[in-house]
Symmetry: C2
Subunit: 341 residues, 2 copies
DNA sequence: ATGCTCTGCTAAATCAGTTTAGCGGCCACT
DNA sequence: AGTGGCCGCTAAACTGATTTAGCAGAGCAT
C-alpha cells in the first residue's frame, strides 16, 4: 500500500532547499522569512512529485492523527446507526479527519480491546455512541482526551448529543390535537423499565413527558395506556388488539416507536379498520418502514445524521458544555385525520 | 489522548537493558540470544509500566499499521451495511486490526478524498464495498496494495466476496416445489436493467437464473412475471394488485426481495386474501421486516456478517483467487403452505 | 573597525519504535 | 599462542515528518 511515495526530503532536494524550508512552506507557516521564490519552488516540487505527507511520521512528532475514534456499544451495525455514522463521516471529512470505528457489543472485554486499540493509534478524540438513548458510564481510559457522547449522557457531565425527545413528544401530541382528537387518544408503549431507568432509556421518559405536558396544557387526558415489555411489532400488535377489545374505541393512537406502530397497523388491518378514517396513528423514530406503510405513518424523525455531525463538531470545534439537543422533525403523513363522526 | 504513556525506552531502562533487547523480547523474536532472565525483566517492566507500543512510531518503521480501510459507495450507512461492518469488525479484531471507514456516496471527489486519506494513513489493505451486488471499476490508486471487493466484482479479477444468489434462487424455487406448488407460481420483480447491466446488479440475474433452473428441472414454468422499475414496497404492491386482477390467481409468489414482498402483503391484505392459505410468499434478503410481517415471511438471508468476515480473512490471510461465494440460508417461515384445494 | 539587527535559510534534535551491525568475553581447537 | 565461533547484549542507523536553535551575509549605526 502506497509504496514509492515521495518524501519531504525528496521535495526539498528537488526544490534545492532544506527539509525545514519545505516543511515550513507546505504547512503555510507564518512569520517564516522564506522568499517568494522558495515558496514557488517547494510548491512546484511537491506538485511534480505528487507529494503527500506520511501521516504516521507527522503524528509521531505532533501527536495529532486527524483520526477520530467512533466507539459504540452496538450502534454501528444496526439500521439506526447509518445516519449517525454518515453525519459523523461528513463532518469529519469537512475537517480533514477520518473515523476509526469499533463496536463493543456491550462486552467489557471487547470494550477494553477497542479502547486500547484506539489509544494505541493515538486518536485525537473519541465519540462514544449508544444504540438506545441512555445514560452510561464512560470507561475511564478514554477520559485522557476529548470525548463526546452520542445518543447518551453520563454522570461526568461530558459533552453529549441527544435527540430532543421531550419536544418530539409535545409535537406528536400537538399534531393529534390539531386534528381535533381530544378524548379518545390512546398510548401504546408504556414501559416502566425504560421510563424509570436512565441506563436503559432516556427516550421513553422524555417522550412520555412531552406528550403528557402537551395534553395537560390542552386539558386532555389519555383514554388508555398500554404497557409493552419491548417496543417491537408484536407488542404493538398485541396492544392494539387489547385496545380494540375495549368498549370504547380510541380515535387516535400514539405509539412510542414505529415498530410498535407497525404492529398496531397489522392489528387494525386484521380487524378491518382503516387508518386514518377509523383511527389515526402517530409515532416516533421515522424508521424507513414508516414511509412504506399504507397509509404512510406520521412520525417524528430521529435526526441521526445531524446528531453524528454535531458530535464531530463538538469534539473538534468545541461548544457549550450543556447537552446538545437535536430537534426531531415531525413527518406529517397520511395516518392522520380528524376523528370520525 | 494518551499522554504520559510509557515508552519502550522506559521499559528498557527499568529492565536494565537496551531498547533493542526490550524490543526483541516484546516482539517475541526467535533466534535472539537474550537470557531467560532478561525476558523476565522486560516482561515485568512492561507490565509494571502498563507499556503499550506507539503504533504510529512502529508503523513508521515497519510500514504496517494494523489498519484496514473499509471504503464503500454508500453501504456503510444503510441498514444493509450493518452486518457487513460487524463481520469485518469481528474478523479484524481477531487479527488485531482495526477498521478505518469511509463512504464515497458515489461521488468521485469524495472517493478521491477517501482514498487519499486512507493511503496517507498507510492502511495495510482496502476493502471496497458496494451497497448493491454489482460489478464496478476500482480506482487505480488503491491497486498498489491488497484489495478485496465486498459485494462486488470487477474486471481486474480482484479477490471478491459475493452472496450466492444463484443458489438462493434455486432454493427459493425448491421450497415452493417442496410445498407442492407447480403451475401457479408467479414472480414479482423482473427488471431488465438490473438483470442485464452487471454494473447495476448481479443479484437480479443470478436469482432469476437460479429460480428458472430449478423450475426447469422440475418441468414447471411460471404462471406470470411482473416487471418492477424498482424493488420497493410500492412496486410490490402494484405488482400484486396486477396479479390479483388476472383471471387465474397464483398459488404462490416469489418476490425478488423482501421490500417487494412487503408491498405484496399489503395488496393481499387489502384484497382480503390470506398468506399462506390463499397464497404462499417467498423472497430474498431477510430484511428485519421479514420476521416482523404477519405471517412471518420465508426468505433467503443475505449473509452480511459472513461476507464482511470473509472479506477481512481474504485480505489478511489470503485465499483462492476465484470469487468467494457465501451461501444465503433459507429462512423457512409461516408464509409457506401447500396450495389451497 | 566593531557591534547590532535583520534576512533567508539550514543542521540537528526529536518523536518512539525496529533493525543492522558489531562488541567484548569466554571457550575450544589447532 | 593464535584464532575462530558462540553467547548475550548494545550502539547507532533508520523510518518521515516537525521544530528548535543558530549560521552566514548584508546593511547600518557607532
Amino acid at each position: 500500500m502506497g509504496r514509492n511515495r515521495a518524501t519531504l526530503a525528496d521535495v526539498a532536494r528537488r526544490a534545492g532547499l532544506s527539509k525545514t524550508a519545505a516543511s515550513m512552506v507546505l504547512n503555510g507557516r507564518e512569520g517564516t522569512r522564506l522568499s517568494a521564490e522558495a515558496h514557488q519552488r517547494v510548491f512546484a516540487a511537491a506538485e511534480e512529485l505528487g507529494y503527500r505527507p506520511n501521516l504516521a511520521a507527522r503524528s509521531l512528532r505532533t501527536r495529532k492523527t486527524a483520526t477520530i475514534a467512533f466507539v459504540s456499544d452496538i450502534v454501528a451495525t444496526t439500521r439506526f446507526a447509518g445516519g449517525l455514522i454518515r453525519g459523523a463521516l461528513d463532518a469529519a471529512r469537512e475537517r480533514d479527519h477520518v473515523l476509526l470505528i469499533t463496536e463493543t457489543q456491550g462486552d467489557a472485554t471487547f470494550e477494553q480491546y477497542a479502547i486500547e486499540a484506539m489509544l494505541d493509534r493515538q486518536v485525537d478524540g473519541v465519540i462514544y455512541a449508544a444504540m438506545a438513548t441512555r445514560r452510561l458510564t464512560v470507561p475511564p481510559a478514554i477520559l485522557g482526551g476529548p470525548v463526546v457522547l452520542l445518543n447518551a449522557t453520563s454522570a461526568d457531565g461530558l459533552p453529549c448529543v441527544l435527540p430532543d425527545d421531550d419536544r418530539a413528544g409535545r409535537s406528536v401530541a400537538a399534531a393529534l390535537l390539531e386534528h381535533g382528537h381530544r378524548d379518545a387518544i390512546a398510548l401504546i408503549g408504556r414501559n416502566r423499565l425504560k421510563e424509570d431507568d436512565p441506563e436503559v432509556s432516556l427516550a421513553a421518559r422524555a417522550r412520555l413527558g412531552g406528550i403528557q405536558q402537551a395534553l395537560d396544557e390542552a386539558g386532555v387526558s389519555l383514554l388508555a395506556e398500554c404497557f409493552c415489555t419491548e417496543w417491537l411489532p408484536e407488542h404493538g400488535y398485541a396492544a392494539m388488539r387489547g385496545l380494540l377489545s375495549r368498549p370504547s374505541r380510541p380515535s387516535a393512537v400514539i405509539c412510542m416507536n414505529d415498530r410498535l406502530a407497525f404492529g398496531a397497523y397489522q392489528a387494525l388491518g386484521e380487524a378491518g379498520l382503516s387508518v386514518p378514517d377509523d383511527i389515526s396513528v402517530i409515532s416516533f423514530d421515522d424508521d424507513p418502514i414508516a414511509a412504506w406503510l399504507r397509509p404512510s405513518l406520521a412520525t417524528t424523525a430521529l435526526p441521526h445524521e445531524q446528531m453524528g455531525r454535531r458530535a464531530v463538531e463538538l469534539l473538534l470545534d468545541g461548544g457549550p458544555a450543556e447537552p446538545s439537543l437535536v430537534a426531531m422533525p415531525l413527518r406529517r403523513r397520511r395516518s392522520l385525520a380528524p376523528p370520525a363522526g
